[in-house]
Symmetry: C2
Subunit: 191 residues, 2 copies
């Protein structure tokens, strides 16, 4: 039984991911998840609206760390967002590659879950842009830095969860940001 976090929420999330990976999302019930975590259904429903929520409940925590990191830095906006994502990579993702690969493959298999993931990414982007605006940045600058940072994160994340990858997510984020800089630098300079 997975006990990678001592709390009920973490145990239920890990149990859900294990079962989704073993049996498929549709074939897993809330009762199964609670039993695997050594808890009851009532505890599950106290913490999650439905079994889908067990796949997405980490995103509030991610947003919190990201917004805090963007708020606290004095760096330029894009650097601020990239540095914040690298912190998130270390705090939330680093030790969980196998569970996150399971989560990724479950979401990839379901258009409904993909759409939910896209909505979560949309609200994450909006939160980062709002944080940059609150620091006094112009609307356009804030949106471009937030959107580009999210693009870098998504590309790095896709490379990280791909089979056979062995670089750290934080390193892939830095590498992808550098590649974006190279690509975008070519604009308007002839070529």
């Amino acid at each position: 039984m997975a006990r990678w976090q001592p709390d009920a929420r973490g145990r239920l999330e890990a149990a859900a991911l294990e079962l989704f990976g073993e049996r498929g999302f549709d074939q897993t019930t809330v009762t199964d998840i609670a039993a695997r975590a050594g808890l009851d259904k009532r505890t599950f429903y106290r913490l999650f609206g439905d079994k889908r929520e067990a796949l997405f409940s980490g995103s509030g925590h991610l947003e919190e760390i990201l917004v805090k990191a963007v708020t606290e830095t004095d760096a330029d906006p894009f650097e601020a967002v990239i540095t914040a994502f690298r912190r998130v990579a270390q705090v939330i993702f680093a030790d969980r590659l196998e569970l996150i690969r399971v989560r990724h493959s479950i979401i990839e298999a379901s258009p409904e879950l993909q759409e939910r993931e896209l909505r979560k990414i949309g609200s994450l982007t909006a939160a980062v842009a709002a944080t940059l605006r609150a620091k006094g940045l112009h609307e356009t600058t804030a949106t471009l830095a937030a959107e580009s940072g999210i693009t870098v994160f998504r590309v790095a994340y896709a490379r990280w969860v791909a089979p056979g990858s062995d670089a750290s997510l934080a390193d892939l984020i830095a590498e992808t940001a550098t590649e974006l800089r190279t690509i975008v630098s070519a604009w308007g300079r002839g070529g």
Copy 2:
């Protein structure tokens, strides 16, 4: 009666936008749209699945022009995407600001239509990335150039449809691409 295109499809799209703007999306029926265009309901359903489709049928045309423009250029990938969007701006958007403002406000007012718009943007991004890969670019480069180009287009588009704006969409795309270059250039160079 709007007759900004001589064909039935264009007349129905324009009639739909006018009526959505006047009465709201929910209060407009397919019968109303057909009548405003001087056509019958059967003609509408021959061309569109439902009234929502009348808001989105232009996106196939947009994708076609965009993919063609990206395919035909020898420029660097980001430059290729930006140049292609500027062509789209001239061919599809330039003369239709008022209708597009109506369309924009209808979509903004409906979470369901926003989601559909996001899906269309997602498939547009995928089509551009696939076109760049077909030109021999690496997966990461193709994705970053496509995503960044779409980000620039979306930001420029939002500035263009905003009340009081008077710059052309093509100019706003170039200006926004330059701003993105400035923002992203700061990465990893201290700051």
